[in-house]
Symmetry: C2
Subunit: 514 residues, 2 copies
């Protein structure tokens, strides 16, 4: 209805072009672009610090958050990219790119509506997860989404919709066999490396178990970190498929295979917010299993005061949601509530845990009975869940497979298929005992604080760093008797860990006169 | 209850020290620290990308978000700081600082509890706002806080508590006189520069009006930007007090005087999230007024389809909350619902608006009647609200003060006290008319799109850029008749604005045959 009058004498101005430079700044997953204050692009587009900017090359485009530089980090005509932006855009050094205002992110309106207690419809959640996958959400948008999903604000239908949306944006594996089984531990318990024992038992029995695991984010070791001390874990989806086809199972790093790829993004911001959202947790766990093509999933839910799930009531509620949403998604889910009052086994940290696992697999006499029995319990339950083993027989069959050496043989075969079993991992030569000051009984072991000591000592970056426990709940100790040994690979980190130990009396509680 | 055994052979290791370097990266208000991947501090503290890091110098300490650098931006032993981190820490180039894990931010537990529908107690809100003020909240934490306050999830008691908390963390002015009056417009209407006319009328009458205004964040001009074309606005609290003591009033930039200092932080993340939270809006407006020492506040609430408040019902609800919370805080609040269907006056952009204001103050024959009558309405209502003028007499008194030239004289006196009246601001010599394509009547003027044209043309950074309207709602126009003129200071920006005009037919709607 309007026209620009004829006397417009300005030529049509080319939209802002700058040349890309990899700045080598790791902003974790949030893509950030750095542009000089004096840049014409900043001025003409009216960009300010923290503007959202659309960056387009000939082959790709992303949205990034703008940081304005006042210094000479950039030459004239250059735009710097953070590592995440560089990766997402698949940029080449010096490549020209166009900078513009992004289209508004429409799916944010659903996040805002949820604040007014509207319900997420499945298509809303799909739009949100697609936008997150495409990098259109800045960290503050992710935080808002996680917050409106936080607490218990998602209904079963919404959790179902979220799970489905998370599966849809990634790859989905299919297998020519059924059942395809999996297990998952709802975190929080140091040393709980049953996966490395359960997978070879189950696959030695003949079932398919394509297991993906995570690296540690806030813990001293993830299953992937521990496995990595024994074999390569960073496989592509194609390589993973080949291993599973050959051996029936695998233990690989989930981050390499992009199943339910938005999960990592959401978890990262959840951790920053320290929000445990039941809905997000369920969608996170189930979406990975569904994307891996699993049909039967066993969940290990450790309950304890310093575990992630703190009471049987909370566990029962969580299990109900997991089972119901699993069923909607065509997944048979069973959950076991396990003891979460103390670490599993004695080693905490990648190498220390791997050595415990090897001892159990080889049936050594000094092997941790706690790790062994827990692994057998889970393997037995999973065999029964699969429908291939009669109820009540699972534990015996699992025990026999482990005792016969078949599981150890299968573990080595899987490790070979993943790229080769590594040499026996060595303990650090730097270690330090921490002893009890009094005579008494062990009444409490704080999972979180024990983890903290292991992390301060250098785990998981230093594979051989960590904690080796010499006592368990109920043990009687004498003054001067070692409670645990701290292993470290550097004096600095050893000092950090021991400083923490000196300041915290309740890492392991010895009650006198008991 | 534990002791470290005697054989500890490691010396106590010095905690991580690095030397500070100003990197010149503007991350807006979020403090960011850049540390090299190979740095011992990263390794020994177990810091990863986006860890929260406590940085302590001899004199100050802050918490910042970590970005890890892989490149040679930093030398060995250096840590880079973003502009916000540099400012907050009051760092000096090369100064040594200690890097450590921060204490957990306890007040985040209240944010999490609110997700489970717990109620914020006043002390919770004080703890949260204190932590925000101290920079302990990362942007994702701010986003979570804003989200749990979003929609209408805050009760009157909670809004009251939030307002009080926001006042407490900043300076609070007191005045030896009463009443101390103020006005505030709940945004969204371009050209609405009544403040520059109301303040001199009210102060010429003899009342005290210590007015602080904001710069544009997403609009083509804030009151502070417009005033700045006529006089200095960036005064300290002490200088502001001196101006008010001398002239009875001022029009200064709120950002310089740190009243309710967390407000800017919250608004920044609210805008990124595009969340309009009633509770946050009320706390934002009232906390600034209370901190300025005001006792009587008049609120201008423009209602219109493209204004911030879109319906009389929404306005009535907002007014009720503003008045109730105001009363609890000992503030007399009155709100006027005004026409928000089109811009006020004709100029949009700092210089264009300032010229409209000057014309009204000087009583020029070509002055905007809309801006004049609206200013008089508000000034009259504020005089009556103060209790110093009989009900029904305010408008006449305000009109007389303006007509007599007293307001213009007072405006010049205030400008002098603030640092000196500037030379008459000039229009840009680069301009372009946008004409109607048809014969008809103006039936709609889109405030948001008109603002967008002015911003694309360069406002508010380019003071003389913007839009000058030549029509108003209800006017009849002929084909080719100019609807508005776009002013710009660069060909590039003119082209951006005109491209936008060409693509959007509904900036000003001309209905044919009406």
């Amino acid at each position: 209805m309007t026209k620009v009058a004829e006397k417009n004498t300005f030529p049509n101005y080319p939209a802002g072009i700058l040349h890309l430079k990899r700045l080598g700044i790791d902003t974790y997953q949030e893509p950030v672009v750095y542009i000089s204050k004096d840049s014409e692009v900043c001025r003409s587009e009216g960009f300010g610090a923290q503007s959202r900017v659309q960056i387009s090359t000939k082959t790709s485009n992303i949205i990034a958050t703008l940081n304005i530089t006042h210094d000479r980090i950039l030459k004239k005509g250059e735009a710097g990219l953070s590592e995440a932006a560089w990766r997402l855009l698949q940029a080449r050094e010096g490549e020209p790119a166009r900078f513009a205002h992004p289209e508004p992110v429409e799916s944010l309106s659903h996040v805002r509506a949820k604040m007014y207690d509207h319900t997420f419809q499945p298509e809303h959640l799909q739009a949100i997860i697609q936008d997150i996958h495409a990098g259109r959400y800045a960290d503050v948008h992710l935080a808002a989404f996680i917050t409106v999903c936080g607490g218990d604000q998602l209904s079963l239908e919404e959790i179902d919709g979220l799970t489905e949306a998370m599966v849809r944006v990634g790859e989905k594996l299919t297998w020519p066999v059924s059942p395809v089984v999996d297990k998952h531990c709802v975190g929080g318990l140091p040393g709980n490396r049953t996966t490395l024992i359960v997978v070879p038992i189950i696959t030695a029995f003949g079932l398919t178990m394509p297991k993906t695991s995570s690296r540690a984010i806030t813990s001293p070791a993830g299953t992937a970190d521990t496995m990595e001390t024994l074999a390569p874990i960073q496989l592509s989806l194609r390589e993973m498929r080949r291993v599973v086809e050959k051996e029936g199972g695998c233990i690989v790093w989930g981050g390499g295979v992009h199943l339910s790829p938005t999960d990592d993004t959401l978890i990262r911001v959840e951790r920053a917010l320290e929000i445990d959202s039941e809905g997000q947790l369920v969608a996170s766990v189930l979406s990975k299993k569904i994307a891996a093509g699993s049909t039967h999933v066993l969940l290990d839910i450790p309950v304890g005061l310093t575990a992630k799930v703190r009471s049987p009531v909370a566990a029962a509620k969580l299990i109900q949601v997991l089972e119901t949403v699993g069923q909607r998604q065509g997944l048979k889910v069973r959950a076991l509530i396990t003891d979460g009052s103390q670490p599993v086994g004695r080693g905490i940290g990648p190498v220390l845990e791997a050595r415990e696992v090897l001892a159990v697999l080889r049936g050594e006499s000094g092997a941790s009975e706690a790790l062994r029995s827990r692994s057998l319990l889970l393997a037995g339950a999973l065999l029964e869940l699969s429908g291939r083993v009669e109820l009540g027989k699972g534990l015996d069959i699992a025990t026999a497979i482990l005792a016969s050496g078949q599981a150890w043989k299968k573990f080595q075969a899987i490790a070979e298929a993943q790229g080769g079993m590594r040499k026996e991992p060595k303990l650090s030569s730097q270690y330090q005992d921490v002893a009890s000051l009094c005579k008494g009984r062990i009444t409490c072991m704080d999972n979180r604080k024990i983890s903290r000591v292991a992390k301060l000592a250098g785990a998981p970056e230093d594979k051989a760093a960590g904690v080796f426990l010499k006592v368990k709940l109920g043990d009687r100790v004498e003054p001067g008797q070692p409670l645990y040994t701290v292993y470290s690979e550097s004096p600095g980190e050893m000092a950090y860990a021991l400083d923490y130990v000196a300041l915290h009396e309740d890492i392991i509680t010895v009650e006198q006169g008991k």
